[in-house]
């Protein structure tokens, strides 16, 4: 039993690697197309995309993936990388901007039309994104899904996909790097970010106090603390970027009272 589960997991790792490799090649291919028409794509965005792909690969394949089946602490490192750090890197790599630049005008227009549609609007709404992101974690750790994902590779795949995409949706709904069809104010996004950060912190302490099914108390305590402080560290970057954008947007446009030339 234990052996066949292990074999199934080993079988799914190449699939993850192929998907991630394809994701990386797609980005590089789009740069190639974009650079033929416009000024060169900034190199640091490629670094961000690559860092995102590497963070995901670390969680989904190799020693950390194997370890996280037996250790809740390793699982939590995986959660921080897959659900928070990789999405942040990838949002910073501005993939939608790159795709729009790589496509021809007609296709780009169709894509923009799709992005402006109602379903996409509701899906990427900060509140929806926050609920999908943090709410999903509550479902994972307070039900038996956490236990199930370690015995069924298909459930594991779905959980991983949800954690990553919800993380990306949320990060993209809070900091605007790519063009956004419907922008929400800085204050609105700040409130949602604080609420999500609070929800994440509360869940961390809840895990510490009430270990998920099948997790030993000691591991739940260490994992809960890792989630609490690790979440703070990554959210700090989100907070700084959001505040910096806010700071730039409110720069004085007219000469202020007391500045040169105004008296």
């Amino acid at each position: 039993m234990q052996h066949s589960e292990h074999a199934e997991r080993m079988a799914i790792e190449p699939l993850y690697l192929i998907l991630l490799g394809a994701g990386w090649l797609l980005y590089v291919g789009a740069i190639f197309l974009s650079n033929k028409k416009r000024r060169p794509w900034p190199w640091f965005r490629t670094v961000f995309w690559s860092a995102g792909i590497i963070s995901m690969a670390l969680v989904l394949t190799g020693p950390l993936a194997a370890w996280s089946h037996t250790s809740f602490i390793a699982h939590m490192v995986g959660h921080l990388l897959l659900g928070m750090l990789a999405p942040l890197f990838m949002v910073l790599s501005a993939p939608m901007t790159l795709i729009l630049r790589a496509l021809n005008v007609d296709s780009a227009r169709r894509l923009v039309f799709l992005l402006k549609s109602r379903p996409i609007f509701w899906l990427s709404h900060p509140v929806t994104a926050a609920i999908l992101n943090v709410g999903g974690l509550y479902v994972l750790y307070t039900t038996d899904i956490y236990l199930a994902m370690h015995h069924n590779p298909l459930i594991e795949l779905v959980v991983h996909a949800h954690v990553f995409f919800a993380g990306y949706l949320f990060t993209g709904a809070i900091i605007y790097i790519d063009p956004v069809a419907h922008r929400f104010s800085y204050l609105y996004r700040s409130v949602i970010l604080i609420a999500a950060l609070a929800g994440h912190g509360i869940l961390s302490k809840y895990i510490y106090a009430y270990p998920p099914t099948g997790v030993p108390r000691g591991e739940a305590e260490a994992g809960g603390m890792l989630m609490y402080y690790g979440g703070d560290a990554i959210d700090l970057m989100l907070i700084v970027i959001l505040c910096y954008h806010w700071y730039k947007a409110t720069r004085p446009r007219l000469p202020e009272i007391g500045s040169e030339g105004a008296n």
Partner: protein
């Protein structure tokens, strides 16, 4: 260009300070909140290990309150520093009023932490295995002193601000 030391500020700076008076207060206040939360975390949780991450008697309301306060103060620390930069950029920084806000923020957070979070919600105690009453008393008196300094500075600067407004 602006002279910020002492009371001898030029006319333009004085005018800017009045315009951004409440912005100074709020930037300082939010920084004070964040600063108190940071000191609480760094010194009492991490260095001294007096505070506990979780206490068996923590109420659910305590968990929620801690989560919200922790998240808000984390955000406030960063936001207040950008607000400070904004004041500098607009030449409206009023150090005395900003510091008054910071004292009030630090004291308020400490009083809330000491009375509501420690005592009512039993999030955790200041220290374990000691006579708590003395610790609680010192904790909350310090909070009140910090708040009093803040309120004093804020009232002083409000008086100056009113005087400048009257002169115009």
């Amino acid at each position: 260009m602006a002279i910020t030391n002492g009371s001898s500020v030029d006319h333009a700076t004085a005018k800017n300070r009045v315009v951004y008076s409440s912005f100074n207060l709020w930037s300082g206040f939010l920084f004070g909140l964040g600063f108190a939360a940071f000191v609480d975390e760094a010194i009492f949780h991490q260095l001294l290990h007096w505070h506990h991450f979780y206490d068996q008697s923590t109420t659910n309301a305590g968990l929620v309150s801690d989560g919200i306060f922790h998240a808000f103060s984390w955000f406030a620390t960063v936001a207040s520093l950008f607000m400070y930069a904004n004041l500098r950029r607009r030449k409206g920084l009023w150090p005395k009023r900003w510091i008054g806000g910071a004292f009030l923020g630090t004291g308020s957070f400490q009083l809330y932490d000491g009375l509501i979070q420690h005592k009512v919600m039993k999030l955790h105690q200041i220290r374990y295995g000691v006579d708590l009453f003395v610790y609680d008393l010192v904790w909350n008196i310090i909070a009140l002193i910090l708040m009093a300094i803040g309120i004093y500075l804020l009232l002083r600067t409000r008086k100056i601000s009113n005087k400048i407004k009257a002169e115009r």
